[in-house]
Symmetry: C2
Amino acid sequence: MANQLNQLDQIFAALADPTRRAIVMRLCAGEASVGELADPFDMALPSFMKHIHVLEVSGLVQSEKSGRVRTCRLSPDALLGAEDWFQQQRAIWEARLDRFEAYVMKLKKERAGAKRPSRTTKRKGS
Amino acid sequence: MANQLNQLDQIFAALADPTRRAIVMRLCAGEASVGELADPFDMALPSFMKHIHVLEVSGLVQSEKSGRVRTCRLSPDALLGAEDWFQQQRAIWEARLDRFEAYVMKLKKERAGAKRPSRTTKRKGS
DNA sequence: TCTATAGTTAGCTTCATGGCTAACCAATTG
DNA sequence: CAATTGGTTAGCCATGAAGCTAACTATAGA
């Protein structure tokens, strides 16, 4: 569980780098070798490999070596885990907005009630 | 546009830290002063303020000072921006899965057609 | 077997991050 | 006005991240 949270640290940290986001985007379209992945980047291979390693440690990417070529693939579960975090926050945020709106509505009603001698009966809004 | 991408860098980097994620989660529930936000953390104020600053630069949080108290609130747009990134990746991923599945289906059909005269229909496993 | 290819390891720089203390405003409050 | 509170600025330190080169391993191909 604390492990899970730590995983979130690593996933977000991994995605904070544009090179690594590009790798993830590339892998969304299908698996690829390290060489293929590295090709578009103007970067020494060892530097590039560090990015791959960060992605693997975060759990976003898995790889396996066969012969002398290492093939990388996306592991979609980790991506979903991070997406979940956003959805949870959004849910809390939206619940708050609902409460806020309800509060504003109540204020409005009270104010209206206090100011005027209730000329017409107020209906509840939406 | 490149600006937007840079924004993503900063948003993910901001969320990579558990303290800052906790701040964001706290702010989902409503605005708060720096002091209130800092209270649960065993950390010197200047250190804490750095986190607030990172969140502000990323666009996740806005704040305004009135009197001697600074009030922070979440700016949900930035959160949504990051969430969008995930959804786009997922869309690409799922499209690929669909293509892959279609490919496997085609293979199966060809193989079945070639090997056997189609004895029983296979049920989908779980 | 020799050579070229695909990664890997080791080690080095440079800069960013996350933490601290100490000293410093500037509003409130007594 | 004096003291407290809430935040800010400045500056220091340790660690880690991102890049590089050089040298190495191990497989594939000629």
